[in-house]
Amino acid sequence: MKPIKRSRTGTVPEFHSQTGGRIDEKWVGFLLLLPSLAAVAVFVYGFIGWTGAVSFTRWNSLVPDWSWAGWENYLRLFGNFRFQSDLRNTVVFTILFIAVCMILGLTLAVLLDRKLKGEHLFRNIFIFPMALSFIVTGVVWQWIFNPSTGVNLFLGKMGVEDPPVWYVDTRILPGVEWGEIQAGIPLALIPVVIAAVWQLSGFTMAMYLAGLRGIPDEIREAARVDGAGEWQVLRQVILPLLRPVTLSVIIILGHISLKIFDLVVAMTGPGANFVTDVPGVYMFEATFRGNHYAQGAAIAVIMLVMVSLLIIPYLVSNMRKEADL
């Protein structure tokens, strides 16, 4: 994107205000932006600062108490069973969710890119869950994985004696003792991951498909002429070219997963022993059910830090890239 070319030599007339005086239109532009900039400054940055301040106070009841607590709220969180479970669940959920979305999304995109008949229909079927809310998704999948019906009806017909109890399962595999909790994969999270994959793998597919469509056919042809088979073309030519798409996918899915809230609320809630709890749910319950504002604020700040670690490098590198153009 190139900036507006403005002649300083006078071949293109500068702007004149109605009174005839010269004004710099870029200042007008800045003024037009100002309300939005001010809103973002206050409602994003100002409020983040405010939440940060609350997280260092003793405001843990309905009555605001601004007395300084230092790191107390944070220390208490990191030592607490529920929050440790939340961190474990977030890590497990994020990894599984992104990995499955990427594999499924990439596979579907590669298949659709072969210009099969019915491509349009398939694509629309894969993407439509994006138009739904996590609440609707959660309400429906909650029934599909309900241990006494849904998937288990099929398993029962197939003669499975002991069908899984899905999100009611409290087992954690392998379940190594670690701090207050057992580290590993809580089995109850798997149905939640499946529901989230259902909702967002179509988006992943759309991203990859757009990436694939951006690769000129000549590149593939050249590789084929050199004697590469379809699989080799995919692995050695196409996949490396899709790396920027993969990065975007990880960033987008990652930030969704780190702050996931509605899907868990609608599908399982915190679960027994907090096997399906996440920081978003804990923050909500601590703040709005328990009136532990300072503690809720501390959870929110930790969520923000996690998301920022993912997002800020991406935003900054994007800005640099644009500046180079």
Partner: protein, 272 residues
Amino acid sequence: MSLKPGRLASYLTLLLAAIFFLIPVYVMVITSLKGLEEATLDRMWELPASLRWESYAVAWEKLSPHLMNSLYLAVPATIFSALLGSLNGYVLSKWRFKGADSLFTLVLFGMFIPYQSILIPLIQFLQKIQLYNTIPGLILVHVIYGIPITTLIFRNFYAGIPDEILEAAKIDGNGILGIYRRIILPLSVPGFVVVGIWQFTQIWNEFLFAVTLTSSSQHPVMVALQNLSGSQIVQWNIQMAGALLAALPTLLIYILLGRFFIRGLLAGSLKG
């Protein structure tokens, strides 16, 4: 016509995936059309013996005020945030001042934050200006936190309009606002469609603000649906009918205008 084995395998994979994607739709539709005695756990996958609409009547009775709340919320919020995004995107793509890119990056950050991190002061603020637990309050919130994404989409959209057109308009004596009104706005229809669909869908489906900034009668539909399905006494077929009713508006938009929906999806992510 014979299919090559590779093609056949491709079709089979796509078909399996399509079944996976359609299972929840199947469950929702057939269950919502069952009567009370048919909607039992052991007959979940069976088709209804006859089409019964009573669960829709019950779900409608419970959800309709909240569907209206969502409508009163999503329509104005979408319009305001699209207008704001258009203006911002125009300035940021065509009138870039020094430091504009850094400011834009700072604005974009607002799109990724977990809203939990602004929620406590937001509630206090809304209480102070007496918009807590009101639809106008929620509209304000969605317009403000919609600034980053709408600005981003419009900025990328306007980058595709050649600067030469603007130069010509400048020579004719138009200023920044004149060009916006006479040149940019008429060219913006596709941008408004993409942003409009995106914002409407997001706002309609949003849950965190809805559940924390409003209570009971002011709840938008997603909170009402969650309450419906969270209560043990509400029948399963009614929950499914309710889920379908709540999903219908955005689903219809997707079916009718899917092309633009996908563009919005990609616009928000491919070009940060």
